[in-house]
């Protein structure tokens, strides 16, 4: 505001069209840009949500016909969908818990201690993130087939879980490590100085302070797991996860229920983000 006033004063009444354009540009450019970016990001999701209340004829849900809530009232009304969603949630949950626990410990070790192989570990952590999923999926399949006996072969939920934990660990380590790097070691010394042993120091001081990083890592791991298709497809065998179900259904026409579940997942994710923002505000 003050700046604008100053500009007006300086330029006086002889404000040329160029200046006027520059001012408008100055003021609205960010707004316009942001608007487009948000639109770009949200449009596909909006379409999914919109078509979850469509009532199409036949199998193809691509043309708007009429509003209905019947698919929302019966979201699992197509065979196999419930099992696929349940499998995905189960795997996402288990892989998140295991990867977050292991990844947090690895991050702690990497930041806190100097040990032989620390450099190599740092590098290895990046490999699952850098490798194309298709390569990783194929090599996992090769490995499981080579082992050739239960519980790894025939492929099943366990093999999917192993694959998901593997790529999730990398993301957890990177996220938690970022939080640990700025951590003031004197805080832990202060805790010990005040009579807390190693266990109490971790749970009373270290853990609460890195918890935001751990939560962020867990959310990331969960979302990576629940929508993974490529690696899952290689390691699933006869198991069907939610993304695989959609892939299979797409050939004959995606049932409206898929849009319902997709919208639900999106809403839950938005809910989590909103919750973390609210909690963060209250804390500050």
């Amino acid at each position: 505001m003050a700046r604008e006033a100053a500009v007006t004063e300086l330029a006086g009444p002889r404000l040329g069209w160029l200046d006027r354009f520059a001012r408008v540009f100055d003021r609205y450019l960010l707004l316009i840009y942001t608007g487009f970016a948000v639109l770009y990001l949200m449009l596909p999701i909006f379409v999914i949500a919109l078509f979850s209340v469509n009532d199409p004829i036949g199998r193809s849900n691509v043309a708007w016909r009429a509003f209905t809530l019947k698919y929302w009232l019966d979201p699992f009304g197509v065979p196999g969908l419930f099992d696929a969603v349940a499998t995905s949630l189960k795997i996402a949950f288990a892989s998140t818990v295991v990867a977050t626990a292991l990844g947090t410990l690895i991050a702690l070790a990497l930041v806190r201690y100097q040990f032989r192989g620390a450099g190599a570990t740092n590098l290895l952590i990046f490999i699952p993130m850098a490798t194309p999923e298709i390569v990783m999926g194929a090599s996992l399949l090769t490995m499981f087939v080579a082992i050739g006996r239960p519980p790894f072969f025939p492929l099943n939920e366990l093999t999917i879980l192993i694959a998901h934990i593997m790529f999730n660990i990398s993301y957890v380590v990177v996220t938690v490590r970022a939080r640990l790097v700025g951590f003031d070691r004197h805080l832990e010394e202060a805790a010990m100085d005040l009579g807390a042993n190693e266990w109490a120091t971790f749970w009373r001081v270290t853990f609460p302070l890195i918890l935001p990083g751990i939560i962020a890592a867990a959310l990331l791991a969960f979302s990576l797991s629940i929508d993974d298709f490529v690696i899952t497809n290689f390691t699933a065998g006869r198991t069907v996860t939610f993304p695989m179900y959609i892939w299979g259904a797409a050939r004959i026409g995606i049932p409206v229920q898929v849009n319902v579940i997709g919208t639900l997942i999106f809403l839950v994710a938005v809910g989590f983000v909103a919750l973390s923002v609210v909690l963060g505000r209250r804390r500050a």
């Binding site: 202060a190 100085d193 005040l194």
Partner: protein, 377 residues
């Protein structure tokens, strides 16, 4: 004599090739305000951290109230620390920060409430219970850190430059405050600082450290009046040092001759066992007179030329060049010569004199490299 609270026996700490602490023997008495004073990197923090249990000595033994604690973790020692950056827990409010130690020891909540309240009163922060560390000022954070340590009633409180982050005015205020609190609670304080004035005003005894050892240990007055080495003389205030050779005695005094043969008297006790010496005198002990003015009997006297005068309000600081080229610093209270026009002027010839009792002696050190660390006199 008061019982010994902390005893260090031959304590050495190496970090790879760095010798941070070099065979220190130290005894701190119960109830004492003891300071470790020294320049940056001399090993003060390392010494303190070994007493606190955050580092293990490479060699030697540490005893707390007679018990060998060398290998005990911090949480098994009856000492508490005030860290240089305070290290308050950012996720806990002031009350929970102070209660942290008591909770670890399973003190009942009712007693915790009473003791935290008492501490907050002591550090004058009643009403700040609910604030987060990010919501209080530096001086307040410092006092919370102090309360958090003291509430546990440790045998010894360790403080590592606790006032280092505060501005000068607040620092002075907190020095008085800290001293008051120490006297009120009667706990042994081991205080690390590189500020000589701070150490002098607060301490009962000071160990002046240099390169992992302490060069001298004593009360502030004896350290100032009779420094035992060049380093101590230079680190605690300003001192004038002149090379001299011992040459007989007169009554209670030993006589040393300066380079130009001028005799200087020194209290006899100080010269025992020394051969090559430097005689020293503090700038405020020297009086300046007209060259022909008489000097009290038996005083040490030199003549010289004023080279520089800086008026400082309370006093004036002169640089006087004596015969042989050495330059002495002299402080004169602005009493007899109160206005600027009355001060000695550069170029004027003056007579310097001081009582022989104010003369001290330091040995000449062969290790000349240590000269670099002596602040300019």
């Amino acid at each position: 004599m008061a019982p010994i609270d902390v005893r260090l026996v031959g304590v050495t700490k190496r970090f790879g090739d760095t010798l941070a602490v070099d065979h220190i023997d130290l005894e701190v008495e119960s109830g004492e305000f003891f300071s470790l004073l020294g320049p940056s990197g001399c090993g003060k923090t390392t010494t303190l951290r070994m007493i606190g249990g955050f580092e293990q000595p490479t060699e030697g033994r540490i005893e707390l109230q007679g018990e060998d604690v060398t290998w005990l973790p911090p949480y098994r020692r009856n000492v508490n620390t005030v860290f240089q950056n305070y290290a308050l827990f950012p996720h806990l409010n002031v009350y929970d920060n102070i209660a942290f130690g008591l909770r670890r020891r399973r003190v009942p909540e009712r007693e915790i409430r009473a003791r935290v309240a008492e501490m907050l009163r002591l550090v004058e922060l009643t009403g700040f219970e609910k604030r987060r560390p990010s919501q209080i000022s530096g001086g307040q954070a410092q006092r919370v850190a102090l309360a958090r340590a003291l509430v546990n009633r440790p045998a010894v409180l360790l403080l590592d430059e606790p006032l280092g982050a505060l501005d000068l005015k607040l620092r002075k205020q907190m020095q008085v405050e800290l001293k008051r609190i120490q006297q009120e609670v009667g706990i042994t304080f081991i205080y690390v600082t590189h500020d000589q004035e701070e150490a002098m005003t607060m301490s009962d005894r000071i160990a002046v450290m240099n390169r992992g050892r302490y060069e001298q240990l004593g009360d502030p007055e004896s350290l100032y009046e009779r420094p035992a080495s060049r380093f101590v003389a230079g680190f605690l205030g300003v001192s004038n040092l002149l090379p001299a050779i011992l040459d007989g005695t007169v009554g209670d005094y030993a006589v040393a001759r300066l380079r130009d043969d001028t005799p200087v008297r020194i209290p006899r006790g100080q010269t025992a066992g020394l051969s090559r010496i430097e005689v020293g005198v503090r700038p405020e002990k020297i009086r300046l007179r007209e060259p022909d003015e008489p000097v009290p009997d038996g005083h040490n006297t030199l003549t010289g030329v004023v080279r520089d005068a800086s008026y400082m309000g309370v006093s004036t600081s002169y640089i006087v060049e004596i015969r042989g080229g050495a330059r002495l610093t002299v402080y004169e209270q602005n009493v007899e010569r109160a206005t600027r026009s009355e001060l000695w002027r550069p170029g004027e010839e003056v007579r310097l004199s001081w009582s022989p009792d104010h003369t001290f002696v330091v040995p000449v050190e062969d290790d000349r490299s240590s000269d670099e660390e002596v602040p300019a006199a």
